[in-house]
Amino acid sequence: MSKTSITYLEAIRLAQQKALAEDPRVFIYGQDIGGFGGAFKATKNLAKEFPGRVLDAPISEDAMVGLAIGAAVEGMRPIVEMQFADFSTCGFNQIVNQAATLHYRTGTPCPIVVRLPSGGTPGSGPFHSQSMEAIYAHYPGIVVMTPATVEDAYTMLLEAVALDDPVIFCEHKFLYYHLKAEKLPGEALPFGKARITRPGRDATVVAYGAMVHEAVAAAEELSHDGYDIEVVDLRTVRPIDTDTILASVARTGRLLVVGESWPWGGVAAEVISRVATEGFGLLDAPPQRLNAKETPVPYHPALWGTHRPTASSVANSLRQLLEL
């Protein structure tokens, strides 16, 4: 990696910088995001660079989202930073009952972006590790993005700001510092399009966010056994790019869906449900899913490492799938 390489976190910062620079309607609102630059430094220096447009909020998630909605109605393009995805539960009502319904009810669009630093990291425990994509994706009217790469973190955040609908932007904390790219992309996949991260022909793994990397590592592992695994990165989980998934399953005949969140009603359940209903005939074996274990996200790194799917548990699931 060169010294000038860009992290996933920096890509998010740069996307916000670009959005602020290019669109006077954009402002950012969140706790400690001003002079301090945010708990993760995703807004570092932005308050200085864009005076009065990167504002510290009180500890009031409900009102933070409410403020964003009201500003969006008046033509602004607010970005709200939740300090952790887990605290968005306190802004839940405004998101699902006001932002999600506004356009349907009144015809007025609600272009807000709510950034959710999501997902587990070691030692973060039950309240600083959650993945809430399935909760928000249940509600019609909300777009839910889950970028897995530095490039996507950048382009999709810009896309989110440009979109006329409320966007829940699940940026993955585990990827913040680990993931790096040499430069920012000029181009992006179209909105809502999944990516074939790794082509293959023996089985399809559908994943998103941090799980894409576990899936790729598992695929590498299985390549030593002669298997050729395709990895599909959903990129957005609402909408879901069913066509790309079905086309992949048509090629491979086997499907494993991996989600970092809990199974009940999660992304994996939704993807499997779509493939079972729309692509039943494409399946050579029962589709499978692998999710987090059914408890709150545990604190101790050893428990956490078992709670979430990993390259090795994905590889195990794949081996089982290939034998079905």
Partner: protein, 366 residues
């Protein structure tokens, strides 16, 4: 209005002196008002007209509900028109207004119409909500007229957002306004919104209509401070008190509040005691409201008090009052007949799409 019912001083968190509950008997002619606020003949007439429209329109809504033409809840503002209209009538184009359940009068004063109200209640496809939402959940947000969600307290921060947008754009002189019942002040949303408005020193006016009950729940089960004016100081905002069923007092106090907000003096909390003279909704007989309370000054009908005031001030003649009544009644009846003949929304014509940007079936990326 006598001087003794003068609004609270503008000092932050003003205590507002003793509670003002008894409607003051208005006296004298021409413009009246408290220092810093005046009530003109013109304003009072406009306000009274909207009150009358609200009252007669709501009577029609109740009748339509009883005859099964309106399906779902009907929540009326009878008895609260004076306070409601006093806010609506002081607002103007470019302001941001999020009325609540009992704000038919304020809505009409702000520019909503009898026609759109009926269309929304009856679910006409021609109404602003196109049958998708109904009754009090209506508005035209893009015109600064927010469509409340049911969750109480939620609109406070939304209005803050509208005001922030104007601030970002360098627009000055606009105010934001919303109403809430005393019960709604118990929500976390209300608290967060008030605190945020205070931190940002936004030109926000929040009117608390303390009608002594939240649905059936009396105030002693809702809050313990006795007087919600005491909350103003805790937020660091200006508190004012109005006599909730006295139009002239409400106009004066809201006039001051709106003017102070417009002048950059930060959020204004107005608290007024009153009584709703009707059930929580039309399904409710309000039998939990003690008749002694109904017979107290709080239970006096604000529309009657307003009419008397205007007559006494010679701002309105008895003939005009009667003519207005007849004209509004006619308009309401004619509009209702018209709307009853309008097309209901056709499910097969709906796009069944909650997204704005993604188009019909656009949710699926193709």
């Amino acid at each position: 209005m006598t001087k003794s019912s003068t609004a609270a001083p503008e000092a932050k968190g003003a205590k507002g002196g003793k509670k003002k509950t008894a409607p003051s008997a208005p006296k004298g002619k021409g413009t009246v008002g408290t220092p810093g606020a005046t009530v003109s003949k013109e304003l009072a007439r406009r306000a009274y007209r909207s009150m009358l429209e609200a009252r007669l329109l709501e009577e029609k809504l109740a009748a339509l509900y009883r005859s099964g033409k309106i399906v779902g809840g009907v929540f009326l503002g009878r008895g609260q028109e004076a306070l409601s209209v006093a806010l609506g009538v002081h607002l103007r184009r470019g302001d941001v207004y999020a009325p609540l359940i009992r704000d038919q009068a304020g809505r009409l004063a702000f520019g909503d119409t009898i026609l759109d109200t009926l269309r929304t209640y009856l679910g006409s496809s021609l109404g602003s909500m196109r049958g998708r939402d109904g009754n009090i959940h209506r508005g035209r947000p893009s015109e600064g007229y927010h469509a409340m969600i049911s969750h109480l307290g939620a609109m406070v921060s939304t209005v803050c957002g509208g005001l922030m947008a104007k601030r970002f754009r360098g627009e000055t002189g606009a105010v934001g306004a919303t109403c809430i019942g005393e019960g709604g002040t118990s929500t976390g949303s209300f608290h967060e919104g008030m605190n945020m408005a205070a931190v940002e020193k936004l030109p926000l006016v929040v009117v608390v209509a303390n009608n002594q009950f939240s649905y059936s729940t009396p105030n002693d089960r809702q809050f313990a401070c006795g007087d919600l004016m005491a909350r103003a100081e805790g937020y660091g905002v200006t508190g004012r008190r109005a006599v909730g069923n006295d139009l002239v007092d409400c106009l004066a106090v809201l006039g001051e509040a709106v003017a102070a907000a417009r002048a950059g003096k930060g959020p204004q909390l107005v608290v007024a005691d009153l009584l709703r003279l009707v059930g929580h909704g039309e399904h409710d007989d309000a039998s939990y409201i003690p008749s002694a309370l109904k017979k107290s000054p709080l239970g006096r009908d604000c529309l009657e008090i307003a009419r008397e005031s205007l007559l006494e001030h010679e701002w309105l003649t008895a003939k005009e009052a009667a003519d207005w009544h007849a004209a509004v009644e006619k308009e309401v009846e004619e509009t209702a007949s018209k709307v009853l003949r309008e097309p209901a929304p056709d499910p097969s014509e709906e796009d069944w799409n909650a997204f704005s940007a993604l188009g019909r079936n656009g949710e699926e990326a193709r």
